[in-house]
Amino acid sequence: MNGRSYLFIPGNSAGMMVSSFVLDADVLIYDLEDAVSLDQKDSARHLVNEAVRFLPKRSQCWVRVNPLDSPYFMKDVDALIDSPIDAFLLPKCDDVRFKDMYAYIEATAKRKNVHIKPCVALIESATGVFTLPKLIKLNVSGLFLGAEDLSADMHMTRTKGSDEIMLARQQVVLHARVKGIVCIDTPFVDVDDMDGLQYDAIKAKQFGFDGKACIHPKQVSQINQLFGYSDEQLQWAQGVLDMAKKHADVAVFNYQGSMVDRPILLRAQHMVDLARKWGLIHE
């Protein structure tokens, strides 16, 4: 599930969908919820269902379905449960809502005799943040912070410094780490402020997020760069792995003056695996 950039694509835009696979986002999130007006909910679902089966696949592909209390949630799940998407992104989650949505998805998968898709929880309400300890006891595959709805729910004013969402960011990362699942930071909504995006993404990375949402393709490369690895980091990781092959008979060895033990070796392997997946290094 690990990605650096998570790009939202409106589910009602055929033009944007058809070029989405070339935009270098690690995860494309086809959106059936906020980006789609009520009169286009059915056509968007149909379009997304066709697109995920038809378009060349170069990234992971998630779908943000409509909320549980809408008339569309079940239709979205019914349509997409047997499609080749990689995950459902479930909106407005708290422990109870996630449990109910997951139950429906699980039952639908069983009924259609297909594997259940991983379900990522969008945390965008005070209750969502507050019930994280209970939520991570459920079958949640990732946590995704949605700061805009959260701010409205918390009566907060959103600022570019994002101090107001510090607690939520920390809570999301903390609980993702406890559970051992991926955590994704909220999008930076001023798409013309690239310096602001840089600042916000650096902050999110410092908090420990694995990646960040994008609402415009031009945000992708900056986020990929920030949440990826530098050439120097990859050279170090590859060097550690090369050295480990030479010292296969010892548990601890020295590389560039530092001790390498099993956790460091695993970290280097993880970096190289991800970098390969992201196309940063070749076979």
């Binding site: 070029s19 070339v22 935009l23 270098d24 060349p56 415009h216 490369s221 196309g279 070749h282």
Partner: protein
């Protein structure tokens, strides 16, 4: 009256022979230019006849008023069967359509054609097949007298007391007048049509070439030289292509001191120039020159010391016009010096790299920028084939699928630039090299992060997205031909199917 038409089939040429040419007008130093202020008096003074060949230039692009002004006056006098040799035709030249219909004009020879006239030609409204040349090929054909011009009507931004012509002065200054210099040197009669009489040195065209000056209220509007094709793309896929292209140039070792560079005026090509600028700054390199149609982006690079010289055959915006006027390292050159294949010291032969667009490209890398898939004429070579031949690396940049129409096709509708002259295709899905560069492609694939693919892989993705292209029917009549820069016949353009 027989019309000009290339017949010799295109063959790849490694090296051209030098042009043997003499400026027959240079001795006319005591020559007196005739000054007129009335169109009818001007036409009376010329020896006009049915079947004559007259020429115009397109430096004012869609702001040009001279061609319409002259053609309407000639049409009123009832002359027929004219060949119009215009360096380009734009939508503003719509009045020509009626003249095609009443046979005032029976052939057009141009390097680019768009708008209502192009539509009329595509629909078979022109009696003889039109000829779509390259910019360099046009200069060659005029200087070598394959095409003989009876009268060249030159929209002149300014004239001075001697009758010299300048593109850089006057109320409608449009900058370089590179495309009309061959006409001025070779036409039997040259009429400068101007709305500004001012004094200046260093003319674009010397008075020795000029027979008459006609002063008019307005030659058009220089603001029309900026067109929609000269805007930087905002399309994320287009921007990705531009970034990929600059990364590719870097990987090929081309972002270096002494770089010689040209780009087309399409949105993606302009984005490449913008990103190249950043890369050159980052690597602290200085290019030797950029050439061709000059834009603000290139002017800024000259002013920031990223290029030593600009060689300008046409200004694409008013910043370029201003720069040409004030910057001694911004040089006006003729179309012959720019791209005439038989002028061996031409600028295109010195290019390291050219970045160009495509309406269609096929698996062999033939490129079409002349027609749509439906045989509708949409443009023309301009300098496409010239620069592709001359540059060490000719790089085509385009989305793989544009507005749900595939750019990569089995066979291009019209060959504008032959496969022998194209090296690389960069699209939003990846980078493909011509077959002759496969060893290099394999090396780059192994040693860089560039998404190197084959044309076959791209074709597979394109077909998955768009389906198999249908064969579009056409009428049997040939309405135009695509002429290679050396005067050979590259391809024919059929009349659009009626009712399409």
């Amino acid at each position: 009256m027989s019309k000009y038409l290339p017949v010799r089939p295109y063959q790849p040429v490694d090296e051209y022979s030098p042009m043997i040419w003499e400026n027959k007008k240079q001795h006319r130093i005591n020559h007196q230019v005739q000054w007129l202020d009335d169109m009818n008096a001007m036409l009376d003074a010329l020896d006009l006849f049915d079947g004559m060949t007259i020429s115009f230039h397109h430096h004012l692009r869609n702001g040009d008023a001279v061609m319409n002004m002259v053609m309407e006056a000639i049409a009123q006098r009832g002359y027929k069967d004219l060949t119009v040799v215009a360096s380009s035709i734009f939508p503003v030249h719509q009045p020509l359509v009626a003249m095609l219909r009443d046979k005032t004009v029976t052939q057009i020879i141009a390097s680019y054609m768009s708008g209502p006239v192009a539509r009329a030609v595509s629909e078979g409204e022109c009696e003889a097949a039109c000829v779509l040349q390259t910019h360099g090929g046009r200069a060659r054909s005029i200087l070598m007298e394959d095409i003989c011009i009876d009268v060249a009507f030159i929209a002149s931004c300014a004239v001075n007391h001697r009758g010299d012509i300048s593109g850089q002065h006057g109320k409608n200054a449009c900058g370089a007048l590179g495309y009309v210099m061959a006409d001025a040197l070779m036409a039997k009669n040259v009429v400068a049509i101007s709305d500004s009489r001012v004094e200046f040195d260093a003319p674009s065209i010397e008075y020795t070439c000029v027979d008459m000056v006609l002063m008019v209220d307005s030659i058009g509007s220089s603001s029309g030289i900026v067109s929609g094709t000269t805007q930087l793309t905002k399309d994320p896929a287009g921007l990705k292509i531009a970034h990929l292209t600059v990364d590719l140039l870097d990987a090929l070792g081309l972002v270096k001191n002494g770089l010689t560079y040209q780009s087309g005026a399409g949105g993606i090509s302009l984005a490449v120039t913008t990103f190249l600028k950043e890369k050159m700054k980052q690597k602290q390199v200085v290019g030797e020159f950029a050439s061709g149609g000059i834009t603000r982006a290139l002017v800024e690079m000259l002013e920031e010391g990223l290029f030593n010289h600009l060689y300008d055959v046409q200004c694409f915006d008013l910043d370029a016009v201003e720069s040409l006027k004030k910057n001694v390292n911004h040089h006006e050159i003729s179309a012959s010096m720019y791209a005439n294949p038989n002028q061996l010291d031409n600028k295109v032969n010195q290019l390291d790299v050219v970045i160009l667009g495509a309406s269609e490209i096929d698996r062999d890398m033939n490129v079409n920028v002349t027609t749509g898939f439906d045989y509708q004429i949409l443009g023309g070579s301009g300098g496409h084939a010239d620069t592709s031949y001359g540059a060490t690396w000719s790089i085509i940049v385009s989305k793989l699928v544009s507005s749900r129409i595939p750019v990569l096709v089995d066979r291009v509708t019209t060959i504008t630039t032959p496969k022998d002259d194209i090296d690389i295709f960069v699209c939003d899905v990846g980078i493909a090299f011509a077959k002759r560069h496969q060893a290099l492609a394999a090396t780059l694939k192994q040693t860089t992060r560039l998404p190197i693919v084959t044309m076959e892989e791209l074709a597979e993705i394109s077909e998955k997205l768009c389906g198999k292209s249908l064969t579009i029917e056409h009428e049997s009549r040939v309405v135009a031909v695509s002429e290679y820069r050396d005067g050979s016949l590259l391809d024919v353009i059929y009349q659009k199917k009626k009712g399409d």
